[in-house]
Subunit: 204 residues, 2 copies
């Protein structure tokens, strides 16, 4: 498509680099910004620049935070005996929203994916092992919960982490797999349904 | 939703002000920017700041352009006897893409919409009348094509413009309404189908 202005073309190309946004949507957003007040565009760009320049990661669990230690690691009301291993900060937010977990987290920053060229060294696995191993900087952890996506990559990552920490004196668990609550049994795929039968729990 | 960082919350709120982007999508975009290189974020924000600070509108047709006059108004290969009146620059781009029109444009910058509080004075209607009226700054126009959306607001705007310029010595036309090319007759709504019958043209 030919754009009436070089400035528009550049802005559209930049916005279209974002995931899930094509050139047509990008153009709609650009024209929206041109139509609106200047201050709106500057507020947007300032917040993004500010974010990119000042964002920090927790020195213990590697989640995104404003300071050196995140509010969860800093809280005295969290159970320091449990660490939930997740892929990224979105998972932390999702689990926090359930209000069912009171322990700490460890954010890997991705999962092992040979297709995308991401190996164990690219993730915060060494730092997890260090948090759990006896010695300096170790934490009094009883249980590690592997809360990774139920995919090939997630399983590979869980398998690798399990191998790295299985000799330590702690419980290693994974989140339950089965039919989603509110889902129709009829529409569950056979692997999920099979797992929900082999992984059945006592009715109580 | 609670965000792990004030910076993230601010960026999400700013992005979610854009049309068609909710908080969940905004968070996904923000996390994408954090994961990527810093330079990517700065390239995006620079292009938007640059756009907002330097964007210009053509002094004749009011479309978006880089200089004082747009490339269409400046071109010597365009038919200066025709002016196509459209709502905004997206319509200019869409009509240019058809490669069926060789005249000039006039971008109103919106359409009359009492619901949104947009009246004739908010649009570039006065400047259109001036382009067409005999006297200083007038152009040798034979025909004005009203290419506005086939909606209540578009019809109102076309009606208003027609009233303002009908006494001038020129042809006023509107783009054809009918069944879309490639569309199934069965699925055309009755108003469109009705218009396609009353507005039928000679075969060949």
């Amino acid at each position: 498509m030919e754009y009436p202005s070089r400035l528009i073309e550049e802005a559209v190309n930049q916005i279209a680099k974002l995931p899930g946004i094509g050139k047509k949507t990008a153009l709609r957003l650009v024209l929206h910004l041109i139509k609106g007040k200047e201050i709106q565009t500057y507020a947007l760009t300032d917040s993004l620049n500010n974010l990119r320049a000042n964002i920090k990661f927790c020195s213990r669990c590697h989640t995104i935070c404003d300071g050196d230690t995140c509010s969860i690691c800093a809280s005295h009301r969290r159970d320091r005996g449990m660490i939930c291993v997740v892929e990224d900060v979105k998972d932390v937010m999702a689990i926090e929203n359930t209000a069912q977990y009171t322990g700490l987290y460890h954010v890997l920053g991705g999962i092992i994916s040979p297709v995308s060229g991401i190996g164990p060294a690219d993730l915060k696995i060494e730092s997890l092992v260090q948090r759990l191993s006896p010695g300096q900087g170790s934490e009094p952890v009883r249980e590690v919960i592997l809360a990774l996506s139920p995919t090939m990559e997630g399983d590979t990552t869980a398998f690798y982490i399990n191998r790295r920490i299985k000799d330590l004196d702690l419980r290693i668990s994974v989140i339950a797999r089965g039919v989603p609550v509110g889902g129709d049994l009829e529409y569950a795929d056979e692997i999920t349904l099979g797992r929900s039968i082999t992984g059945r729990t006592l009715f109580n």
